[in-house]
């Protein structure tokens, strides 16, 4: 039987600041190379609730402030509730860059304006204006074995690049995604980076996170298949020599 996955991509035109589509390319190709059919659904203003419900995996990239302003109302009023339903059901998701700020309870801007988020993730974010510098640079995080996929290569590290002004603080309803080893992570205080709610990952790493973290890409694919077909679907081992070379190069830098 040939497996099939639908990947929902939130506002590709508006939430794609810097190479975010790399994640979609990686997910798509890694499925294709395993003979899994993939269709990518662009979720924008016109997308219906029913269409969103057909997604087996959801991705959200970063956006500039103005773009975020354009999507936020639509997300809160129309897309938020159905996305929460999906994630509560265990549909895997990946949110990079600014998207985590969107998913939490609120985001306090530098001039103390409180922007209400979707509230799917138990966390809050805050921008301290000029009193705290932007976090910019390469990052390394340490992750737990829960991201290991049977039969595939696993590393307990993730590498990324962060560029954010805000700081995020996690509540009890989410787990940290990684322990930050290099870089700032969520807030530069509690060594956490990103957060996990059920099978949904939000992180401050921005842009193309998955190319150099193929284990996370495969974990998302495995979770999506498992949920859709209600059993573990073994994933074919791919030749990831280049991916790990690039990953390890960043660890050593």
């Amino acid at each position: 039987m040939k497996h099939q996955l639908t990947i929902g991509w939130l506002y590709p035109e508006l939430m794609s600041t810097y190479g975010d589509r790399g994640n979609i390319i990686v997910l798509t190709k890694r499925c294709k190379w395993r003979n899994i059919n993939v269709s990518v659904l662009s979720i924008d203003f016109k997308t219906t609730k029913k269409e969103i419900e057909s997604c087996d995996l959801v991705f959200g990239g970063g956006s500039q402030d103005r773009q975020q302003g354009i999507v936020i109302d639509d997300l809160r009023n129309n897309k938020g509730p159905v996305l929460k339903e999906l994630f509560d059901r265990g549909i895997p998701g990946l949110f990079v860059c600014g998207a985590p700020q969107l998913l939490g309870h609120y985001y306090m801007t530098g001039d103390d304006t409180k922007l209400t988020g979707l509230g799917i993730f138990d966390m809050v974010s805050r921008h301290f204006g000029k009193s705290k510098p932007r976090c910019i640079g390469n990052t390394i995080g340490e992750i737990g074995e829960e991201f290991e996929v049977e039969g595939l290569d696993f590393r307990n590290t993730v590498v990324g690049f962060e560029n954010h002004g805000g700081r995020t603080y996690l509540g009890k309803g989410v787990q940290p995604f990684a322990k930050i080893i290099k870089g700032c992570g969520n807030n530069g205080e509690d060594v956490t980076e990103g957060s996990v709610y059920k099978n949904c990952i939000a992180c401050y790493s921005h842009g193309p996170f998955l190319p150099k973290n193929p284990h996370i890409a495969d974990w998302l694919i495995a979770k999506a298949l498992e949920l859709k077909y209600k059993k573990k679907i073994p994933l074919k081992l791919l030749d990831d020599t280049l991916e790990w070379e690039a990953h390890e190069f960043m660890l050593e830098r």
Binding site: Y18, I136, P211, E245
Partner: protein, 429 residues
């Protein structure tokens, strides 16, 4: 104090050059600025004509084109070194031109100015002509978002008087928004050539929503990225009528982006009072700035270097290579040093997938060659070799290049300097 700082800075410049400590493109200016923070004001008060060129892509080439035309007409011209486009680079150029008593000798000063620095420069002096080439996403870690730059420009340009001419790209919605309410005289250039429209929108587009009201823009066609025949159906921000179009002046170099640079330079020349026929004649003698379609000969083989430092620039470089009659191997070089931007995410916005139809060998190198290799892997484009050593990569590329072929090199900024150094080391450039 003005003269003292000039003497000290000029002396430092002499020392730097004498001991080969650097090219002196920024350091003398830095020293002078420390001694005299408003030295730019002092220089500009001598009444010389100053032309500024700002924007994401095309600055260096546009400056060189303006210089070519003005020099051809008989003016003496001074410009800042490519990439030395912060205040210290401008001061260094003034210092080079100034005599020991601080008096400037050239007729015209043409400066490329960094996007983020432009507002500060405009606080120091008022140029005679200001050229705005385009705004694309570039080095987010340094510049921030396109919207933010446009907003800062809008504020900074508001104080320019009507005697100043702002020459802007009509095909870029952000620049039209910037030009909209200025007291300065605003003139526009645009391609106006539907035969150059792309078959579909590229992924790397930065302004597809109206910069004024946020509605989706409609495009009658795009030349690349978001440059094209655009309109906002909601707030009625529209593509202005252009004063110069591509039918008026043809570009001396390949590449659609060079057509824009040509139009911008020609408009400046017109503004200076040069006849169209003289502009056209002068452009024929134009040779590309280094690393910008720069052509050189190595062991009887043609080498072309196309600086490719952001998604739009890189897409256009690929388009130039793919559409060129000159065939040959391709080397992509990606560095992540400060001048390149430390974030290499942007390579995922480049349509490397277009290289699937490229018949020649492709090599990658640079500090982040693995990232490039991965990008090609996921574009399903075969990569012939990945080289940590740039020297080996260049050797291999040359070996792969047949005598009648062209070896194409697409480097980021610092990589371009390295490429040239290697070629110079071989006494080639």
């Amino acid at each position: 104090m003005f003269i003292v700082s000039i003497i000290i800075a000029k002396f430092a410049s002499f020392i730097i050059k004498f001991f080969h400590l650097g090219a002196g493109a920024t350091w003398p200016g830095e020293i002078a600025l420390r001694l005299n923070p408003h030295i730019l004001q002092k220089f500009s008060k001598q009444g010389k004509k100053i032309i500024l060129v700002a924007g994401t892509n095309g600055k260096t080439t546009t400056v060189k084109m303006i210089e070519t035309i003005l020099t051809h007409t008989g003016y003496s011209v001074r410009h800042n070194a490519s990439g030395a486009n912060l205040d210290n680079g401008l001061v260094s150029a003034f210092l080079q031109d100034a005599r020991w008593d601080g008096r400037l000798s050239s007729d015209y000063f043409i400066f490329e100015v960094d996007e983020a620095t432009l507002p500060n420069i405009l606080k120091e002096f008022t140029p005679h002509i200001l050229v705005l080439t385009n705004l694309f996403r570039d080095q987010l870690d340094r510049y921030g978002e396109v919207d933010v730059i446009a907003e800062k420009w809008q504020q900074a340009l508001a104080s320019l008087p009507p005697s100043v001419t702002v020459i802007a790209n009509a095909d870029d919605p952000h620049l039209v928004l910037v030009g909209e309410k200025l007291a300065a005289t605003v003139k526009y250039f645009g391609l106006e050539d539907p035969s150059l429209f792309l078959p579909k929108m590229q992924h790397a587009t930065d302004t597809i929503y109206c910069p004024r009201c946020g509605s989706r823009l409609t495009f009658g066609g795009v030349y690349f990225s978001h440059l094209g025949k655009w309109a906002c159906g909601n707030c009625k921000l529209t593509h202005p009528r252009v004063d110069v179009a591509s039918r008026d002046f043809s570009s001396p170099v390949e590449g659609v982006y060079n057509r824009y640079n040509t139009l911008a330079a020609a408009m400046v020349a017109r503004e200076v009072g040069i006849e169209d026929s003289d502009i056209k004649e002068a452009l024929k003698s134009f040779t590309p700035a280094f690393g910008r379609m720069e052509e050189t000969n190595v062991e009887g083989k043609r080498v072309k270097i196309l600086l490719s430092k952001n998604p739009t620039g890189c897409n256009e470089s690929l388009r130039t290579v793919l559409s060129s009659k000159q065939k040959g191997p391709l080397l992509l070089v990606l560095n992540d040093r400060i001048p390149d931007g430390t974030d290499v995410s942007w390579i995922w916005d480049v349509d490397f997938e277009n290289l699937k139809n490229f018949k020649e060998n492709i090599f990658v190198s640079g500090d982040r060659c693995f990232d490039l290799g991965l990008r090609l892997k996921y574009a399903e484009v075969p990569c012939k070799g990945m080289y940590r050593s740039l020297e080996d990569a260049i050797k291999e590329g040359l070996k792969n290049c047949k005598p009648d072929q062209t070896f194409w090199i697409l480097p980021t900024y610092s990589a371009m300097l390295d490429v040239r150094k290697i070629l110079t080391g071989k006494k080639i450039l």
